[in-house]
Subunit: 680 residues, 2 copies
């Protein structure tokens, strides 16, 4: 029986063993533990005092539905009118604004005693955040479900806490967006930034310029009704929706229907590859601005948010340089280079956006000396860029360091703070210009099947960075709580975990995925931008995204836990327990290779075979290292050289995947040699 358990332990590696008393993520600004607990029973009921409105009632309904799902309680009543009889009393002072605004008060005070709970908030938004806190506080004990007696006074550190989803490179259906909005609400995010157009697709219905979606979307776009539906859905969860229409670059999809907007003659086709491309709007023609005025007029009506994102990134200027008419215009207008030409364009677009009553937002590139001060800068360049903008009086938010598509571990995102380092010397007032941040889900390598696993659970770590006090930085605690958040997200319908095994079965071509899962659990996709184009002749957008690299998680829990066990073992902590764990895993990894070789080969599996072999060899090496350590004998240098070569091979990307347990195994080898020299 012991073997079974350990094998299972290694394959999932102790996930969910930890149950912190307070599973809150993001951590609240202030929490005081009281005495005792409030039972959560079937008679749990909610009363609303103070102002009430439909949005608050719906928030309460959603809360009760989630509570029932989590606990299995059948309600005997739910929303009641008599506060003296309610388990939870919600009091909100002010009505919702018609359109949710940046900087609205999101604070709340939650007091839980053994006899009841009280949630006070200035706004409905604050109540929504507090309700999520209650859901996370519900705990199972011998007496059933309870909420610990606590007093929580909470407010976000930053007012702008977002997630950008690119729906252009791959279209993401409405229901997938909705389940992600549910996830966002659960970790107190408040902005969905919807990247609606790019070279690879124009994704929203325009009634004024229908060829935009008709010719630029492969028939994959959101109708205006669907847009309104999503915005209402987000609003009910306290989330603003900011649309982005990227211009003047990243706009090939516009030109399929309207080639006259471009700086070079058409015809244009929807871009099928990833990268930076030449097509850009013609900033020298008045017809361009006339078009944009009409289009922006239509879209600013459809999207009620105060902010309107015009992209503005990565214009390579090649079409401009190659067009004599544009060159002549620049000369006659004293525009010295392409950057200045983009500044000219941005200024004119800003006037249009302003005319339609909105505040413009854009990527770093839109910041030019005479950019109006109310424009918001979204920085993919970093905190320094943000700091210098703040010094110039511009507000901005950080996306550098929060690119989910780069496949970084949660801890790396978590360590990045939107507030520039002290060396930036921002005044108090300048610091106010740092509004927060946005995680970015660029969609070159995501499909509806994969996107949840690329966003979650790592998004929760960034959400905590943006909500919680700066001092909340304990990585171990973050991972423990993120794991619990991950489980809750599944119940909301997010598929970040549940799609893993079906994809493995598809790759294996059978149910027999034991060995494949063993490999999948210890690898991660290559990082940053190193996923290569599979074949130059192949359109990237035709990639079915069904390889092992697409199925595995962005971050391997197993590898992380294994690395921890190795560090503890080498530090002499719980030495035999950790050695047993390590050995068990290594045996497991060694033994997957013969099983993998028995699977009937197919193109999806064939690329996994070298990974399987590398993993098995690395494990064998690790076992030999452990034997040296056990014997207390120095491993010879010649052995070390040979074995490190094995690890070097294992550490190299293969099938766009990295074996994440190679580095800790390397530590074992080095220790096997090192302890020898110490013993001598």
């Amino acid at each position: 029986m012991r073997i079974v358990l350990l094998a299972v332990l290694c394959s999932t590696f102790a996930a969910g063993q930890v149950h912190p008393a307070f599973n809150l993520m993001p951590q609240p600004a202030n929490l005081q533990l009281g005495t005792g607990e409030l039972p959560v029973t079937r008679s749990f009921s909610v009363a609303i005092t103070g102002r009430t409105e439909l949005r608050l009632q719906r928030a309460t309904d959603l809360f009760l539905a989630d509570l029932r799902k989590a606990t299995g309680m059948l309600p005997t009543s739910d929303q009641i009118s008599d506060p003296s009889k309610a388990t939870l009393v919600i009091h909100v002072d002010n009505p919702s604004r018609d359109i949710q605004e940046l900087g609205e008060d999101e604070s709340y005070v939650l007091e839980v005693s053994p006899s009841g709970a009280k949630l006070d908030a200035v706004t409905v938004l604050g109540a929504m955040r507090g309700l999520q806190t209650i859901l996370q506080l519900v705990n199972i004990g011998p007496a059933g479900f309870t909420v610990p007696a606590v007093t929580i006074k909470d407010r976000p550190r930053f007012p702008w806490r977002g997630l950008m989803i690119d729906v252009s490179r791959h279209f993401i259906p409405l229901d997938v967006l909705k389940r992600n909005i549910d996830g966002m609400a659960s970790v107190k995010l408040n902005v969905l930034h919807w990247h609606l157009s790019d070279n690879q697709g124009f994704r929203v219905e325009s009634k004024r310029f229908p060829k935009l979606q008709q010719m630029g979307s492969d028939d994959q776009y959101y109708s205006q009704d669907e847009v309104r539906d999503l915005i209402a859905y987000a609003r009910d969860r306290g989330i603003r929706v900011v649309p982005e229409f990227d211009m003047p670059g990243h706009s090939t999809a516009w030109f399929v229907g309207y080639p006259e907007l471009a700086s070079a003659p058409g015809p244009y086709g929807i871009e099928r590859h990833w990268g930076i491309f030449d097509p850009a709007m013609d900033p020298t023609e008045d017809t361009t601005y006339k078009f944009l005025d009409s289009f922006i007029g239509e879209m600013t009506k459809l999207f009620p948010d105060q902010y309107f994102h015009i992209g503005g990134d990565e214009v390579n200027g090649k079409q401009w340089s190659a067009n004599p008419k544009i060159q002549a215009f620049m000369k006659s207008h004293g525009i010295k280079d392409n950057q200045a030409l983009q500044a000219y364009f941005t200024r004119r677009v800003q006037e249009i956006v302003h005319k339609h009553g909105k505040i413009m937002e854009g990527w770093d590139e839109i910041l030019q000396p005479d950019t109006p001060k109310d424009v918001i800068i979204q920085s993919w360049r970093g905190q320094d860029s943000l700091a210098s903008a703040a010094k110039m009086g511009y507000s901005g938010l950080l996306s550098f360091g929060y690119y989910l598509d780069l496949q970084w571990p949660a801890s790396r995102h978590y360590a990045i703070d939107p507030m520039p380092a002290a060396s930036a010397n921002l005044s108090k007032e300048e610091q106010q210009h740092i509004l927060g941040g946005e995680a970015c889900m660029w969609a070159e390598y995501v499909s509806p099947e994969i996107i949840d696993s690329r966003i979650w659970p790592r998004m929760a770590a960034i959400a905590e960075r943006l909500w919680s006090p700066k001092e909340v930085t304990d990585i171990a605690s973050m991972y423990d709580r993120m794991h619990l958040v991950s489980r809750r997200l599944e119940w909301l319908g997010l598929t970040h975990d549940s799609n893993y095994e079906p994809m493995l079965r598809r790759i294996a071509g059978s149910d027999n995925i034991e060995a494949l899962r063993t490999i999948g659990n210890v690898v991660e996709p290559v990082k940053d931008y190193s996923r290569e184009e599979t074949a130059a002749a192949t359109p990237n957008s035709g990639d079915p995204l069904n390889r092992l690299v697409d199925a595995v998680r962005s971050e391997s829990d197993t590898a992380r836990h294994f690395a921890e066990a190795v560090d503890l073992f080498l530090a002499g902590k719980s030495k035999s327990t950790n050695e047993n764990k390590i050995r068990e895993c290594l045996v497991h990894w060694r033994d997957q290779a013969p099983a993998m070789e028995k699977l009937p080969p197919n193109p999806l599996l064939i690329e996994v075979i070298p990974i399987s072999q590398n993993l098995a060899e690395a494990a064998q090496t690790g076992l030999a290292a452990l034997d040296y350590v056990d014997k207390g004998q120095p491993a010879p240098e010649s052995w070390k050289t040979a074995e490190l070569a094995v690890i070097d091979r294992a550490a190299k990307p293969e099938g766009q995947l990295l074996i994440m347990v190679a580095p800790p195994i390397r530590k074992l080898i080095e220790a096997a040699v090192g302890q020898g020299s110490k013993a001598q």
Copy 2:
């Protein structure tokens, strides 16, 4: 290592071990194996000859997308114009009709040789069915993906092959319906019957009578745009959409907004319980028919299908009997009883439906002596009811025996044939009146989270019954192929399997679900209508449906495989192999109990504890029986009596669940005694 594998074997019990050469489900009418195989490579391409149209092109696109997903191939090209260069040539003779019709030709001929494939069909529908066949034929071999050389001449046995989904008891969002439509298309079903109104909810937007959805749906309804969207989605997959508005009973939700339609004064509220209720439309008022004329006029425009379902089932007549005005009307019109009154109502509604250009459909109850002959009868009563209707000249379809909510095993549904027994003595012409059948997913105990697991994979067995020749009845083959279909369905996004473990983790309140899964794998929900109301005072519709009974599958593969192993063992086949399997499972089931007891209790787990204990005791008993068999000694009668009492206890419903391995364990006990007497 052996222990690990066997333990895993028992928990999943050999699922997916079988790879029949032809995984087709439903089985085609005629298949001839050729020589060799057609390689499916990256250069796989499709050309359309004969007539082409957008619907066929979209069907081809969907086919290619599925093929890419299943194989991981990046296409180098897809739809091409030169048939001599295409891997697959599709030839269709006729254009699609504007509205898909009952009885359209769905036949196709598929010829696959090592050098290419040819798909010929009279209609686009036939091509769609053939494309699904190709997808199922794709196999993995050492040479990569291939399709075997075959000639398939296929056509459905019945023209009406449907699935009814009740969206009233629980609202089912559009995306959930869409993924189920994908599943339907994959097993060649062709009708989605949308049960849109009932006592518990009115689910479609009416512009003429907006209070229907505004007051009768808890704001959970489909807008008319969404309805059109779903119909277009279904059409692209060769599926008709037949709406049902149940009347004159099952109509409480109508009366919330329009109490004047009812036969007793209001006010009415949306019904929160399950069952048969008194409210019924007033069939004696002309205003009722005026309302229905206007409403049906609106809905027959929204739903293009030729058929319009008016329900007509389960009117208990209590409101009619209690209303003096209705009684007076009956007297003055010579209507002798409530049944005759419903016949009067049905006749008038039929005239309205007919006036709006549709053919009426209804449940058995609508069949009365003077019902017009073009009305379609959907029978929940059985083949005899259908046969007598056929003799009277009415066409009908069978739903008796295909109620998915009754939690029957697939084999039981599979054994039921829409064609009445020979004893019904139907003439050839009368047999033509048996149009096919429809599975019914009544939604008292399903939510969006659960519904896929209640429909799939059992729906595939019924789909085969309706498509394949009558002689296709091998149950073992059905189960093997159904398992493969089940895996493919996951890739379409169906969650029938993937939601299982997240739900178990929610019930366990932790990741530690080994023991709970062991139990969950061998139990099934109670059958037929025996799931009791949990508490009379509790509204059924508030049930969060998150208990173990909601998480487990309708049919346990593990229990089925265990029962087979017991039968083989007792028949002396592969005796020691089977005994090992049986013993391993019994040990596994015995050992889950201590693990279960260690889990922190919660209300969802507490009801599982008696099941855990009963399973452990039954397993212990089975092990003792095996020991007797091993020793070849007769087990004493007194032992038998005591042990059968254990089994009796285990076989009783507990937490609305049945331990499905209790009956085969009982066989072991009886054999232990029986072999003794034989030995004496």
